[in-house]
């Protein structure tokens, strides 16, 4: 660059790049970028530190007590002398509420995501989004308070009727739909003829009566159930599913959006209805992204503390029978939160370190599921990009 003149012919070297200036610039850039890199790697350092410090306090427990008792015994008496540290029932409780909340949140979340991405017009979608954001924003302790103070007494006093109505409202429409579809499929072999209409009518009627009887019988059985304690696995699973829903909805919606218009239009052109297009074309293409969404949602449920601490009943046993969601349970997170208050005084004891062992278990689980979901998303992006 040549000399530049400014201010009435006065010479200025403001725009001249001397080697000296260039060097200074390069050094400044080097340190600047180095600083940025340092800050950006701070997150990675924090992750390493978390693993290290949780593991350092967890290892003494396994040194003292070994692995067998922790993973295979259900006797959890940490306060005794000598204590018993069997966490199997607690791990089971964590798994139980996680599966329970996934059973509620996954179908609900995926259908909501489909609805948001493919069914609703844009103007309505704008109002649905804040609802999901607000569900995600409500603090976990507020959900826990709701579960403990409002929902648990309801469940305890009106548990049977609540279950019965839930069954009728949810299963009813699906069973009726199933009757229509099955009777259609059963009679579709008989092509044409007036016979078919009557056949179909008869089959539908018979199946319909059977279905209503079935609905009624299950409803009556549910109505007779008396729930002894409102703070149980069902309560927690339901509330946790509220908390996992926003994650599942937003991640699977992203993945559904990522499936391009071309696939959808191709399917419509072949004469498929919207439902068929989504189920047979869009969902398979987005399946891996939805799987990632489910994993992320499950992680929210398993790592949640306050709701399970307040509303799960905190009793460390495997429910009897094993699938009894109306029984109280105890989870890893609630145990850490609840026992640290007393164990804190005795730093160095197995009682203190066992809580870190539980934390490590949660940490490892969340790390693995995170990696898996990330891999899945990357793979889907590559497949959709046609690589």
């Amino acid at each position: 660059m040549a000399e530049a003149t400014l201010d009435g012919g006065k010479k200025s070297d403001a725009f001249v790049l001397t080697p000296e200036k260039l060097r200074r610039q390069r050094i400044a850039r080097f340190f600047g970028e180095g600083f940025l890199l340092l800050v950006a790697s701070f997150v990675a350092i924090v992750v390493l530190f978390i693993f290290y410090f949780v593991a350092v306090d967890a290892i003494p427990f396994f040194q003292q007590r070994g692995f067998v008792e922790f993973f295979s015994s259900t006797n959890w008496y940490p306060a005794d002398e000598p204590g018993e540290f069997g966490a199997l029932a607690i791990i089971y409780g964590s798994g139980m509420v996680t599966i329970g909340s996934a059973l509620i949140a996954v179908p609900l979340g995926i259908s909501a995501a489909i609805c948001l991405s493919d069914v609703l017009p844009f103007s309505i979608r704008q109002y649905a989004k804040p609802v999901i954001e607000m569900l995600a924003a409500i603090p976990s302790v507020a959900y826990g308070f709701f579960a403990l103070v409002i929902f648990a007494p309801l469940l305890q006093n009106y548990g049977g009727p609540i279950l019965m109505w839930a069954w009728w409202l949810i299963a009813g429409p699906f069973v009726i739909l199933a009757v229509i579809v099955v009777s259609d499929l059963l009679t579709s072999g008989d092509k044409g003829g007036a016979n078919r209409e009557t056949m179909r009518f008869i089959v539908t009627a018979v199946l319909g009566v059977l279905a209503v009887l079935f609905l009624y019988w299950v409803g009556k059985t549910l109505n007779a159930i008396q729930i002894l304690s409102g703070t149980n696995a069902l309560n927690v699973s339901l509330i946790l599913s509220f908390m996992a829903l926003p994650t599942i909805v937003s991640v699977s919606e992203d993945s559904l959006q990522a499936v391009g218009r071309e696939l959808r239009e191709g399917s419509y052109a072949l004469g498929a209805t919207r439902a068929e297009t989504i189920v047979k074309t869009v969902l398979p293409a987005a399946s891996s992204g939805i799987l990632a969404a489910v994993i992320l949602g499950i992680m929210r449920a398993i790592g949640e503390t306050m709701v399970v601490w307040m509303a799960s009943g905190n009793s460390s046993h495997i429910p009897d029978p094993w699938y009894n969601y109306l029984d109280s349970i105890r989870t890893l997170t609630a145990t850490i939160a609840g026992d640290m208050g007393e164990a804190d005084q005795v730093t160095g004891s197995a009682r203190y370190h066992v809580l870190f062992a539980m934390g490590l278990l949660l940490l490892v689980f969340s790390f693995i599921s995170n990696l898996v979901s990330e891999r899945i998303v990357v793979r889907q992006r590559k497949i959709l990009a046609g690589e």
Partner: protein
Amino acid sequence: MDLGTRKILDRSFTAVGVTSILLMAMALLVVIVPIFSNGIGAIFFKGTIEHRKLQYNEFRKGNPDVLQQQITETDSYRNNAFSIVEAFEAEMEGMEPGEKKKEYASQYTSVRKILAHLLGPLPGDMEPILLRYQYGATRWEKAEEALHELMFVTKWDYSDPTKMATQYFVPRADEFAGTALADLFPYMENNLEKMLLPEQTFYWGFITERSLDAHIFGGIWAEIQGTFFLAVGAMLFAFPLGVIAAIYFTEYAKDNFFTSILRSANSTLAGVPSIVFGLFGLAFFINTMKVSESKSVLAGSLTLAIMILPTIIRAAEEAILAVPKTYKEASLGLGSTKWRTIVTVILPAALPGIITGGIISLGRAAGETAPIIFTAAVSVGATIGLADVFNSPTPALSWNIYNLASEHEAANEIRHVQYGMVLALISIVLLLNLSAILLRARISQKLKG
């Protein structure tokens, strides 16, 4: 399949989708509506004269002359009730010892207890030490509950062993029929209002006053302030770090293995369960770094900061990426350096988006409980000054909601305080989120032009 069936399936598919969205909206309402409607009761309620006495004695609020006048007014009715009680005591003295007397004595003890609960210490009682026994029912609906308890004895029917026991009530007046105390019950029922003088009260002090006697009376200012310190402290650490990291990721990071490791570290951090942050905060900030002797606001803020860091980074990245490429190109084309472009062009354009992310993270930090259990929160505590944040713990809304609802000795008595706290916390968080949503709507309008 039949075309008709296919159509039905298609319709029901749509119906399922719409229903699931409606269910989510309903879930939100089902959680929020009872909390709002009950939480308002912490501020608007029918306050009795006991509430006004308490307010005057503890906080010097209210008009002493009016209060004194009302006290004399109520005392005349109260004294009538007390004289009935005294008459009964005299009658009991005269009774022969035996089963009957024992029965009366035990019943009478519970009557006295309920009376004290309604009206404050009775004549002849010792001056109680705990504040909760120094005043009667401060809220009219609590007084009505206590009155029902006074009027009826609760009994349980165990006659059907196959079912749970059912509750039934026996009028207490029947138990004391024929004694002097029998007159007390109709008298209390008719004159309770005159003894307590309930008035519609707007108790703003619930927000601004300290709590008295472990939240039995008073407000929640200490908790609100603690939540504020913790959340703002977390932002002070996390916001600058997050924005700088986002600048690195969007503008400088090369697409290589190292960057991908940093990115997956970010999403790992976002997925760490909140209670594990608490464990880490205890093990690292308190036990290893010793940032404070034991729990402190500083340790809690640091723990919350690393928890919200990934959210801030992600939001800032998105905001920076949303800035149109033309801005950057124009700036670079004018000859400014990359760093100058970032500072003077890209960041100002991305700022509203970055702030949106910051606000949402602030709400998350304010609402989170698990990370502060071991690092910052105490159940009962006074308000702390700004200078104390380095070494003293603080009560916080989120932790005290848990504590009052599950561990407080009188959890059932102070439901209104709990609801009020939940309402305060939810209002803070939802208002923050609402402002973020509005801000974002404005940005997207601006970007559309």
